[in-house]
């Protein structure tokens, strides 16, 4: 009978944990960095019936103060559904009840789930659920989504549809009245010690004037190092696997007498490029992201946003931008959408325009590879330090650009800034790692098929269609050569970036195809082989550094640009978002080249 359920509640109460529990792996979220910013949809199977579950962004009330809260409000108030599950934190019941009472004034089919009851019990908080249900007029359940306690009861309750759904009989109240009512109800149903949160060592260290930065930087360095070191062997394995499969694929095509040209297009163009992208992009991201997600689950990201708010404020933005920048590390389009969590209009715009300074999934592995080329002997430590320096550069330039842009845009009164710092929670390590690993693998594979495969075909065509004696690829490369060298790059690299507009993953494959014109990528070269190819083509450490800088600062990919247009509402902002990083990239490359000589 029940078809669609909406999950609502304050931020950080465990809605998404509950969502994951109910839907298993049968969902698609574009939500990273611990923040739901748009509706996520998943499906739950119970006794043969399929139910749609909608996870909404967290909100403190139905009066929204940012775009993501607005999205939540719209879902909660206007979307047709069979039941609304309001999730709240057992340790912060009063605040959660405020929202629950607001929602129940407007919708009739509500259930309250008091989550994190395991934490509440540890603090000695005891809640009388029978009385709570009576006071509210709708069912209230105890839950611990992370351990699973209470989830079965919840599912049964929903599926049996056995709760008395009723319109909350009292007339709509003012916010002060609702606040008072939630206080009254809590006083009646809560007993036991409700001690306020104490400051632990972790919070003390992470806000310490001296220790905070070294700790955060060390953590970042550690993750980078693990990603680079850990990715080497899987990358090698994957490329061996793909070479093996590629040889057999080729043999098969010859066996079925496919024409040579078509064969080459399939194997060298499509298969070669896709295989290269997967074996280079997947392993480092499959390590970096699960580790990063672990840190997020611990609760570190809000602390970073908290610490950096001071700097962001001086640059015309706010600390929440740090969260958007972290989302941008996964995918800039997601980071741009994530800017919905920022309240002020101007602050949100600044964040959108500078988000692509953070290297996304498609660019990170390129940076790792370039770092390995620059430091072939010093192992992973040199490479990770190099990448970390690049990330610092990205962050610094984000600040400078925000500052400059905020001078151009008209002054606005700063919006109210607030940030909740949830308690540090021990993450469910295995589950988090597995989930993140699967998400990441899927993401890379889908990108490889959607972007790398067609791009591979197009590059192959360019490399094999001859006009006036040379192929299109060489022709374009030659045309761009003077411009490229002016900025410390070369024609192939510049061409790679230009043709890489659809997806940053294909930039290096394009560069390699230019250099190896004739031979293909089906034989995927190892790092040392790439180094040989590049130095034959005249690459110097200068070239590596400039390429790395330009990888960070050039126009965003097509998906990101269209997302920027959608989120900001204007094409001119998308164009500005393309021009800004490019201008920086060209400027810095030029300065480096001039200083080098």
């Amino acid at each position: 009978m029940t078809d669609k359920i909406i999950l609502a509640g304050n931020p950080n109460v465990g809605k998404t944990t509950l969502f994951n529990r109910l839907t298993g792996l049968r969902h698609h979220t574009g939500n990273w960095a611990g923040k739901t910013v748009g509706s996520a949809i998943g499906y739950m199977d119970f006794q043969g019936r399929k139910t749609m579950i909608v996870d909404t962004p967290g909100t403190y009330s139905l009066k929204p103060s940012s775009a993501d809260e607005e999205a939540a409000r719209d879902s909660i108030c206007y979307e047709n559904c069979d039941a609304i599950i309001i999730v709240c934190d057992g340790c912060c019941l009063e605040r959660g009840l405020y929202l629950a009472l607001q929602i129940s004034e407007r919708r009739s089919n509500t259930v309250l789930c008091v989550n994190l009851m395991d934490e509440a019990e540890k603090k000695g908080i005891h809640i009388d659920f029978t009385m709570l249900s009576e006071e509210l007029g709708f069912p209230a359940l105890a839950l611990s989504a992370s351990t699973g306690a209470g989830v079965d009861e919840l599912v049964e309750l929903i599926e049996r549809n056995s709760y008395e759904s009723s319109i909350y009989k009292k007339p709509a109240k003012s916010s002060m009245e609702l606040k008072a009512l939630s206080g009254e109800i809590c006083a009646k149903v809560i007993s036991g010690n409700s001690a306020e949160r104490k400051v632990g060592t972790a919070d003390y260290l992470l806000s310490h004037k001296i220790f905070a930065w070294p700790i955060m930087l060390l953590l970042l360095l550690a993750i980078l190092w693990l990603s680079i070191k850990g990715a080497n062997y899987p990358s090698l394995l994957l490329s061996k696997l793909f070479s093996f499969l590629g040889t057999h694929f080729h043999a098969f095509l010859i066996y079925i007498k496919m024409p040579q040209m078509l064969c080459s297009a399939l194997v060298d163009g499509i298969y070669g490029t896709t295989a290269w992208v997967v074996s280079v992009m997947l392993p480092p991201m499959a390590i970096f992201f699960p580790l990063f997600t672990l840190l997020e689950d611990l609760g570190l990201l809000p602390r970073i946003a908290f610490n950096m708010d001071g700097v962001f404020k001086k640059c015309g933005s706010c600390g929440r931008q740090a969260l958007c920048m972290c989302m941008g590390l996964g995918c800039n389009a997601v980071g741009v959408t994530g800017c919905r969590i920022i309240s002020g209009h101007k602050e949100r715009l600044l964040s959108i325009l500078t988000n692509s300074f953070m290297p996304c999934n498609g660019r990170f592995p390129t940076l790792f590879l370039l770092a390995a080329l620059l430091f072939p002997d010093s192992g992973s430590l040199g490479s990770s330090l190099f990448v970390m320096t690049l990330l610092m550069l990205s962050v610094i330039l984000t600040f400078i650009s925000s500052l400059l842009l905020s001078l151009i845009f008209p002054k606005e009164t700063a919006a109210t800034f607030s940030l909740e710092l949830p308690p540090y929670r021990k993450p469910r390590i295995c589950e988090t790692l597995m989930r993140s690993l699967l998400d990441r693998t899927l993401h890379v594979l889908i990108r490889a098929i959607k972007a790398a495969a067609p791009a591979g075909l197009v590059i192959w065509l360019f490399a094999n269609i001859n006009i006036n004696g040379s192929n299109i690829l060489s022709y374009l490369q030659g045309t761009l050569e003077p411009l490229g060298t002016f900025f410390g790059l070369d024609g192939a690299i510049l061409l790679g970036f230009i043709l890489g507009l659809p997806a940053n993953e294909i930039v290096l494959p394009i560069v390699l195809m230019c250099y190896l014109s004739g031979t293909s990528l089906a034989e995927i070269p190892s790092v040392s082989e790439i180094l040989v190819v590049f130095s034959k083509m005249g690459w110097t450490p200068l070239t590596i550094i400039c390429t790395a800088v330009f990888t960070l600062f050039h126009w965003p990919c097509a998906t990101t640009l269209s997302t920027i247009k959608k989120e900001s509402g204007k094409l001119s902002y998308a164009l500005a978002a393309a021009a800004l990083p490019t201008a920086w990239g060209l400027l810095i490359c030029l300065v480096i080249r001039l200083l080098w000589n």
Partner: protein, 78 residues
């Protein structure tokens, strides 16, 4: 005897009760939703690395606010 002081002047570790909120309607309702309302217990926990914003404990949650907001909230120390 306790007197009303600005929340931004509340020392770390001292318990207080909120006395009044800013006059701005939007700001006041936002703060109320978060748990800052007249009569609520509050204490200052720690500052960010650069001194602002500060983390406050209110209704069993930790919420960070900037000085520009906390200057406009008054509290009574206990």
């Amino acid at each position: 005897m306790s007197s009303a002081i600005k929340l931004s002047d509340l020392p770390i570790g001292v318990d207080a009760v909120i006395c009044s909120l800013p006059e701005d309607e939007n700001c006041a309702s936002r703060l109320t939703e978060l748990g800052f309302f007249p009569g609520a217990r509050i204490s200052r926990l720690f500052n960010a690395v650069f001194g602002d914003p500060c983390a406050y404990s209110v209704q069993n949650a930790v919420i960070a606010l900037r000085r520009s907001e906390t200057e406009r909230i008054t509290v009574n120390t206990l």
